[in-house]
């Protein structure tokens, strides 16, 4: 067993490094979700505005982030924007911003769909109580909309976590990137290490994403009751 790839997992600090990579992926995804959901809720509200121009602008915003592949987005934020604007922020920060904007675009569509499916008379009974438009949105519409679209939102979160695997394209030391480094360093001595490393990566992503997936299913089932 001396040359079995599994030993690579526990050599030196490899295992800890992989967990560190997972942590990088998770915090980037978490921050991107946090800011993206907040921004997306506002943009979703704007997309129900009566103003056609406002609606058109955010529609284009949504389509831009939906159509442009995520890798291209990351390149845009990592290579092109910093050069154009003289920013010199680390890749992880640029990636968080890119992901947050992407999340906000996707979530805005979820929020818009949910907002327009909250019965109109809910709005009216809120208004009739003297709530302002803003209070109506915060206390009445958004919570109801969120419940309606919680499964879709959780789904979005799992997609974001998975997509952090693209972070290696812009040299962020995420889980995949760390794994790749370990594989390359040990490829000569332990050719089967690649199997074990990617096996572990699979497992780690699974551990993070599967509870979300279960949660989404549970919520969807409750909604049917």
């Amino acid at each position: 067993m001396e040359h079995s790839g599994i030993s690579v997992l526990f050599q030196g600090r490899n295992f800890v490094r992989l967990l560190g990579g997972l942590w990088t992926s998770v915090w980037i995804a978490a921050l991107a979700l946090l800011f993206g959901l907040l921004l997306g809720a506002l943009i979703g509200l704007a997309r129900t505005s009566k103003n056609k121009l406002v609606r058109a602008i955010f529609r284009i915003y949504l389509e831009f982030f939906r159509i442009v592949p995520t890798v291209v987005l990351l390149f845009l934020f990592y290579y092109i924007l910093p050069r154009q604007f003289g920013l010199n922020w680390p890749g992880s920060v640029m990636a968080t911003i890119a992901f947050a904007l992407w999340v906000s675009a996707e979530f805005s569509d979820i929020v818009r769909g949910a907002l327009i499916s909250v019965p109109k008379v809910q709005q009216e009974s809120g208004l009739a109580l003297g709530l302002s438009k803003w209070q109506l949105f915060i206390y009445v519409l958004l919570p109801q909309a969120f419940q309606l679209e919680l499964p879709a939102t959780i789904n979005l979160a799992t997609r974001v976590i998975k997509t952090t695997s693209l972070l290696m394209m812009i040299s962020v030391m995420d889980l995949i990137n760390v794994g790749q480094q370990i594989i390359e360093a040990n490829n000569q001595s332990h050719p089967t290490a690649v199997f074990w490393i990617y096996g572990l990566i699979f497992l780690l992503y699974f551990i993070v994403d599967y509870p979300l997936s279960l949660w989404s299913k549970k919520v969807a089932r409750r909604k049917q009751d």
Binding site: Q122, E124, S125, L127, A128, L129, G130, L131, Y139, V140
Partner: protein
Amino acid sequence: MAERILEVKNLSKSYGDQQVLHDINFSLNKGEVMTMLGPSGIGKSTLLRCLNGLEDFQTGELVFEGQTIKPSAANWQQLRQKIGMVFQSYDLFPNMTVLQNITLAPIKVQKRSKQEAEAEARKLLKRVQLADYADAYPRELSGGQKQRIAIARALAMHPDLMLFDEVTASLDPEMVRSVLDLIKELSEQDHMTMIIVTHEMNFARQIADQVLFLDEGTILEQTAGKDFFTNPQTQRAKDFLASMDF
């Protein structure tokens, strides 16, 4: 001299080319109950909704407590604290408990303390005989219970005028009584000023100080309560009462 609470002057409203309200005029004194009667779909609800700004209108004016209402969003938001409204479909907020439903607007809009608002909400719940349901969610309640809570929710704002838009229309017959009794009690004990759109003729007769009979967006009759039922002036009103088995 009775205090005038609401005056509607020459109010007209159209949707595009179609005029739905024609030159509506009436006034209401403090403590009075007005019922709006008439066939379905002739603008009673629309008129009621004009009175708290949920619908706009093209011409005419509203005078509420001596002030001509300027129809801006901010102004209506202020006024709605004084003009409560309860809808046919008792729209409690499904994401909140009964108590939260009642205290939301007092806390957020009127900036009252949570403690005080909750204490009052519990008092109101006792009054509508649902004291045990403070922590229930709307989905756990029957239609009649929901509607009584919707009324309690409107009362928590201490309105000077209450609008009821066919509040018993979607209730099971055995639920109707509890809601109507509550409205009657509001009139008799609290002397609440109310405008009620209803198809419950017996109830309307018992409670109305004034009856507004509308058809095709026009006021056909405006009479003191009991007279309308015993002595309708127009053929249209006679036919209407006959059709309601009254």
